[in-house]
């Protein structure tokens, strides 16, 4: 068996709200190993803390407990829970991607630029970056007439596909997917699933949240049950 890309050990998250002097538990610790080309689905009821865990792996949230040991392309093992911010920034730029349901982008950029941007930031030449971005947009059936326009004017489903195109254009070794297929029509959902399968086949490891159990059945190699820690438990 190949070495895992990600080994999550008792990773949990809670929030301390100083204002009310209150501890709000979000997710009980989970543990799993994830190898290249494998997809782990976080499953559990709404409010169980699935998104919190995903954000804790990406370090948008500071984990409250546990480790997320990531093996880099260079072969080093980095605990994403505690690594210096500059290490996290470098990994986010080159190796670890995050796909959200919501597109936060500059309303003043064209769709093609939005999708190509992460590559440009990695130092890829403009023509090559645009070329790859165009292929991704085409694969997700965003009409070419829209590529010059800003995604701010798009429908929810179109924006979500632009967002997915951007994340998959950037690529990486580990991708974190937060409901990438929510609010998509069946045809678009099929395209996104195909894109995820292609990335898996290319060796990308993924942790994902999908509200559609059919998608979980199709894509997931392993399911991780997530439970909210009871109020009153120690942090």
């Amino acid at each position: 068996m190949t070495d895992p890309i990600l080994s999550v050990r008792d990773l949990g998250k809670g929030f301390h709200i100083h204002d009310r002097d209150k501890h709000v538990p979000a997710a009980e610790g989970v543990s799993f190993d994830l190898g290249p080309g494998r997809l782990a689905a976080l499953v559990g009821p709404s409010g169980a803390g699935k998104s919190s865990l995903l954000k804790a792996i990406y370090r948008t949230y500071v984990p409250s407990s546990g480790q997320a040991l990531y093996r880099t392309a260079a072969g080093d093992v980095v605990d994403l829970a505690t690594a210096p911010e500059t290490a996290i920034t470098a990994l986010r730029r080159a190796e670890i991607g995050f796909v959200t349901q919501f597109l936060h982008c500059l309303p003043r950029l064209s769709t093609l630029d939005v999708v190509a941007r992460p590559l440009l930031q990695q130092g890829v030449a403009r023509a090559a970056a645009h070329d790859k971005a165009a292929r991704m947009l085409a694969a997700l059936a965003i009409p070419q007439q829209l590529w010059d326009a800003t995604p701010a004017t798009f429908s929810g489903g179109e924006r979500q596909r632009v967002n997915i195109a951007r994340s998959f254009t950037q690529g990486g070794r580990l991708m974190l997917l937060d409901e990438p297929t929510a609010s998509l029509d069946p045809v678009s959902r099929e395209r996104v699933c195909a894109m995820i399968e292609a990335a898996k086949a290319g060796g990308v490891a993924m942790v994902g949240i999908f509200h559609d159990m059919g998608v979980v059945d199709r894509l997931a190699d392993v399911r991780i049950e997530v439970r909210r820690k009871a109020f009153g438990d120690a942090a």
Binding site: F15, H16, I17, H18, D19, K55, R59, T60, Y61, V62, E85, T86, I88, T89, A90, L106, R108, L120, Q121
Partner: protein, 276 residues
């Protein structure tokens, strides 16, 4: 990542100062005024590292010490104690150990500052082009023709119409004045830039275009920036890491998305939750 600026325990106390100043001020006391001697502790024990090509935000409310911090680094003010090392092209300058002439030389050629108030960063009595030429002259650019060509190119890059380069900046709109300031700050190709509330007080649409411009220039030039702001939107838009200051102290530091979505300190939680 290579460091470009290391700030160590920088402190600035206005007033006589006394041994108790640092103990009786700060976030825990919710004041920066020493109750024993009346001194104002503007910045206390501030340490940070800025890396090459990095954009670091310094966030906090008015009076938190964020502007005082960068003003010392740009030699607008002198620290009471502490050090700062500027790593520039294989040389490490200990900023506050240099003599005044050396400091001015670094400031004029290897650092840039964009102030909230354009009157501080520009000479309103000479033309927009002249403002840039002035800085180019300090960096030993001598030929009139070369200076004029460079000033024109810089203004074009910051979207100031070349037709207006011979006008006085006092006649410009606030947004345009900021563009001239940015062009001036960038003119010598300095690797280190300080931005102090550069979009505060501008119309929203003008703010957005100035921020886009800064982001674009940063990506093209790879310049390192310290961005002082009280505006969460500016931090989100420009920076990858953020430092939060309160009553002269750094109380929290982290990835910008983490600071905004999962702030740890009580004060940062308050600051983030008070966003509109």
């Amino acid at each position: 990542m290579t460091p470009i600026l290391d700030v160590e325990a920088l402190t600035r106390i206005h007033g006589p100062g006394c041994p108790a100043c640092l103990e009786v001020t700060g976030p825990a006391h919710d004041t920066n005024i020493c109750r024993h001697c009346g001194s104002v502790v503007a910045v206390a024990d501030a340490s940070l590292r800025l890396h090459k090509g990095e954009v670091l935000g310094i966030m906090g409310e008015s009076g938190s010490g964020k502007s005082s911090l960068v003003r010392m680094l740009y030699f607008d003010d002198k620290p009471t104690s502490g050090r700062a090392i500027f790593h520039d092209g294989g040389r490490a300058h200990e900023l506050f150990a240099l003599n005044e002439a050396q400091q001015l030389r670094l400031r004029d050629t290897r650092m840039g500052m964009v102030y909230q108030n354009p009157a501080l960063g520009l000479n309103f009595d000479i033309s927009a082009g002249g403002n840039i030429a002035e800085r180019l002259l300090m960096s030993d650019e001598m030929s009139y023709r070369a200076i004029r060509a460079k000033a024109t190119a810089l203004l074009a890059r910051t979207e100031v119409p070349p037709a207006r380069m011979d006008e006085l900046p006092r006649n410009f709109s606030g947004g345009m004045q900021q563009r001239v300031q940015i062009a001036r700050a960038l003119s010598t190709g300095a690797p280190l830039l300080f931005l102090d509330e550069v979009t505060t007080g501008l119309d929203l649409s003008v703010q957005a275009r100035i921020l886009d411009l800064i982001l674009e220039l940063q990506e093209v030039t790879g310049v390192s920036m310290l961005v002082v702001t009280h505006d969460l939107g500016v931090v989100r838009h420009l920076t990858t890491r953020t430092i939060v200051m309160k009553t002269g102290r750094i109380i929290e530091a982290g990835l910008t998305d983490q600071i905004l979505e999962d702030p740890q300190a009580a004060y940062t939680q308050q600051l983030v939750s008070s966003a509109l």
